[in-house]
Amino acid sequence: MTTDVAATAPTGSGLWRILVQGRAVPLAVVIAAIAVIWYAGAVYMNAPRLTDGYERNKVEWTFGQLVDDAWSMERPILPAPHQIVAELDKSVLQRKVTSKRSLVFHAWVTLSSTLLGFAMGAVLGIVLAVGIVHVRTLDRSLLPWIIASQTIPILAIAPMIIVVLGNVGFTGLVPKAIISTYLCFFPVAIGMVKGLRSPDPLQMDLMRTYSASSAQVFWKLRWPASAPFLFASLKVAIAISLVGAIVGELPTGAQAGIGARLLVGSYYGQTIQIWAALIVAALLAGLLVAAVGLIERMVLRQMGARP
């Protein structure tokens, strides 16, 4: 039986073989499975409210009608995927990007503070790592504080950062970016400490026999050796930087941004709007990580990494 399959498989049509061996078919299967579960879940979650309504209004109902209604409620517990797609179409494609009701506008607001926070976090993380690697006192004293900083839930500390910074005159973009910074300096610092220490003893001894200065050891050995570690950290950092920016928009009552959109959606029970904002956030995160990955590939190829 198995030998039969093995013998006939290569003779099948080329397209089919590409589909089976490629990633398209598995991906389609997973997406289909998620859609089926989601639609079923939408019926299950939304049914109690609908049946209550039917009974209150003494309406005769069938299962078919229940399913139809469950997939087209205005404020469902769990909206059906096509409702979210329709909402995305409306708020991404149908509106001008400058409109306050365009998700592109809100995504841009969040993206700008994500990128500012990411840049500041990356610089802070690298500076801390350089300090830890070069100064023995910092090595002993700084790392516990860095780790402790991350054990505080960001939701607890975010409002305080906003309030304190608001009092000293920082509002809008900067406080949100600082919450992103607070989250994303951590993986960069940890990754870079490891990266800057990654040169092996022989490579370090070599620098010593040349009596190289510590600046030369840093720029010609530690820094290039840490590049793979830096990019791995940056991929994590940019994703949590986005999370930080969204969280930063929640306590400010911000007028714009994906976080503001989530907040408004939850005030008014607009679950479809919440889900649409979540999807945009997820797409944004994917794009940002992919962008870092692209830069990583270009830089590491320049540095002679094996293809």
Binding site: T209, S211, P224
Partner: protein, 278 residues
């Protein structure tokens, strides 16, 4: 420590050795590492003097301190007792004057630099101009027969070629001393033979003082003008053997009676050192 009677083939320079100021002069050197299990006596009461242009091999079993001795000379380890001078100054001063070209057991090339830029690394550190760096890299890559590989990255080269790059890198800034720590230890025997012959030609052409650590008797006898036989626990020098085979020798020299006689003496020295442990 015994001093060997004059060997059969005496180089003219050898007789004049005493009159020339030594490049390396070591008196009563000891080095003890403090470990959790107590002190480890890596080197004990070592005296050695190396004349300019000598090719000196340190040979001995693992743990005899031959690498440690070389690291002391290069100021990579600090001795606990004794005097070491290199070119008449301390090892540290010699290191700061960039007197050492060190070739390690592994090539220790920087993976993100091309072959050419690896060779240029010490030149950059020493602040040499760009044209001069490029000229030197080309010159020394040619010397180790790696012309045409300038733009390759280390992973694109075989182990033997990588080690030749590291030799070119060590020679590129024209140090007084070439220190080689089992440079061919990780290579197969055919490559090793080939590189031995190339190294010998290189030494004859450059006239550099070379310190060479190995645990291969044929390698030591073939390459060296002097062989320092060492023994472990504590690391010390058992015998210093003058070894002046004809300068233009090829690998065939390993079949000659002179070669076999010296190899025999080295082997005897190593065996004598070992008997302490049995």
């Amino acid at each position: 420590m015994t001093q060997n009677p004059a060997p059969k083939l005496v180089e003219p320079a050898a007789s004049g050795r005493q009159s020339v100021a030594p490049v390396i002069d070591i008196q009563g050197l000891s080095l003890t590492f403090q470990t959790a299990d107590g002190p480890v006596y890596a080197l004990s009461d070592v005296d050695l003097s190396v004349a300019p242009g000598d090719f000196v091999s340190f040979i001995g079993p693992s743990g005899c301190g031959k690498t440690t001795l070389m690291r002391v000379i290069a100021d990579l380890e600090k001795p606990t007792a004794g005097e070491v001078s290199v070119n008449g100054v301390s090892p540290e001063a010699a290191r700061l004057a960039r007197a050492y070209g060190y070739v390690f057991q592994a090539p220790a090339l920087y993976a993100w630099r091309t072959v050419e830029r690896n060779v240029m690394l010490p030149l950059e550190i020493m602040g040499m101009g760009k044209d001069e760096r490029r000229r030197r890299a080309a010159e020394y890559l040619d010397l180790v027969n790696l012309k045409g590989f300038e733009k390759k990255f280390p992973w694109q080269l075989s182990g033997g070629m990588q080690q030749r790059v590291s030799i070119a890198r060590a020679l590129s800034f024209e140090p007084d001393l070439l220190l080689m720590d089992e440079p061919f230890g990780a290579l197969d025997e055919i490559t090793r033979d080939h590189l031995n012959e190339q190294l010998l030609r290189l030494w004859e052409r450059t006239g550099k003082t070379v310190i060479f650590v190995t645990h291969s008797i044929p390698e030591a006898v073939f390459l060296s003008s002097r062989i320092v036989v060492m023994s472990p626990r504590p690391g010390r020098i058992i015998d210093v053997i003058d070894c002046n085979l004809p300068p233009d020798r090829t690998l065939d020299a390993r079949e000659t009676p002179e070669f076999l006689e010296i190899a025999h003496r080295v082997r005897d020295g190593l065996r004598a050192g070992h008997s302490y442990d049995d």
